[in-house]
């Protein structure tokens, strides 16, 4: 079979062409099956968010607390507001907030909060305050 031909001369395709076709079909059927399976799972509960601290980084004249938002449910949360409070003895000493553009279903995103006081000296509380349906 020469370079320029599209098949084996009988309109049927060489072994390698059929291999490529089979790989393609497997990939497509796999994707579509996954979609159907997930679709039937009916997991469209509203977003269920947990916020955790990843680390604290001292910077020039402030501290950075890196945080992670995890969405445990099956719907995407858009414009997720996250607030971090530094507390001492039940009083809120400082508050910082940030917004996550999107936290998709069963996925996670990272962000950071800046504080003027050292978070390690206080009790740091993170909470999610609201979201929007995309």
């Amino acid at each position: 079979m020469s370079e320029g031909e599209k098949d084996d001369g009988r309109g049927r395709g060489t072994f390698w062409q059929w291999l490529a076709a089979v790989l393609g079909i497997v990939l497509i059927v796999g994707c579509l099956s996954f979609l159907i399976w997930e679709g039937l799972g009916r997991d469209d509960a509203p977003p269920d968010i947990t916020l955790t601290t990843i680390g604290m980084v001292p910077q020039r004249d402030r501290w950075l607390v890196t945080i992670r938002a995890v969405n445990h449910a099956g719907s995407t949360a858009a414009r997720l507001g996250a607030v971090g409070e530094l507390r001492e003895g039940g009083q809120v000493v400082e508050t910082s907030e940030t917004t996550f553009d999107y936290v998709p279903a069963h996925s996670e995103r990272e962000a950071g909060l800046f504080f003027t006081r050292d978070p390690a000296k206080f009790e740091l509380r993170l909470r999610a305050v609201g979201y929007e349906q995309p």
């Binding site: 320029g4 599209k6 098949d7 395709g13 497509i28 994707c31 579509l32 997930e38 998709p104 996925s107």
Partner: protein, 198 residues
């Protein structure tokens, strides 16, 4: 050499356009400027090659080479077309936003629509006078070997380009797959169109 020349032209054109729109300016670091121009040059170079194929004059040698494109050559053309369309659209927010708004059933329908559209392009070729359906090939053979393989490739290209632009970070499988299928639609159209044009 043609490829390098195309990239050089694309690089210059991208630099010019970005300067014109004030998207690169003083105050940006050197690596940000080079990065932006280089990234922009990728789809621009595809455009340069495409323009030459469509509008330029071909030598006899090139004409003959074109008519003799084998199966793998066609697949390569499809990949180029898919990359071209995917690259232009992937950096935008819209792909990801659309995938967030869709349900799984929408994505399923979009995948099927992409396959149908790709297959329709093959028959559109007949109106242009090109023999896109080689003689003796059965319809189902054609469907499997060009359309399905082509769509699978469009999905792979779509996934690769999305990954390249960092759209997958921290995501579970389902949102990733949805975004791949959304981007796979223009990629599939690009692949089918490239097969017609090139």
């Amino acid at each position: 050499m043609d490829g390098f020349a195309a990239f050089a032209v694309a690089f210059a054109a991208s630099a010019g356009v970005l300067l014109l729109f004030n998207l690169v300016h003083r105050g940006m670091s050197a690596d940000e400027i080079i990065g932006k121009i280089t990234l922009q040059a990728v789809p621009a170079s595809f455009g340069a090659v495409l323009a030459r194929a469509q509008l330029g004059e071909k030598s006899d040698r090139e004409e003959r080479a074109e008519r003799e494109t084998g199966y793998w050559g066609e697949l390569f053309h499809m990949m180029a077309g898919a990359i071209f369309f995917a690259f232009n659209v992937a950096p935008t927010e819209e792909i990801v936003v659309i995938s967030h708004k869709m349900t799984h059933w929408h994505a399923l329908a979009l995948a099927l629509a992409s396959i149908v559209a790709m297959h329709a392009f093959v028959y559109a070729a007949e109106f242009r006078g090109q023999a896109a359906v080689p003689e003796g090939m059965s319809r189902s053979s054609l469907f499997a070997r060009f359309t399905l393989t082509g769509y699978a490739m469009a999905l792979v290209v779509s996934a690769a380009v999305l990954w390249l632009f960092g759209r997958f970070d921290g995501d579970a499988t389902a949102p990733v797959l949805m975004a791949v299928i959304v981007l796979g639609f223009p990629a599939a159209i690009g692949a089918a169109a490239a097969r017609l044009i090139l």
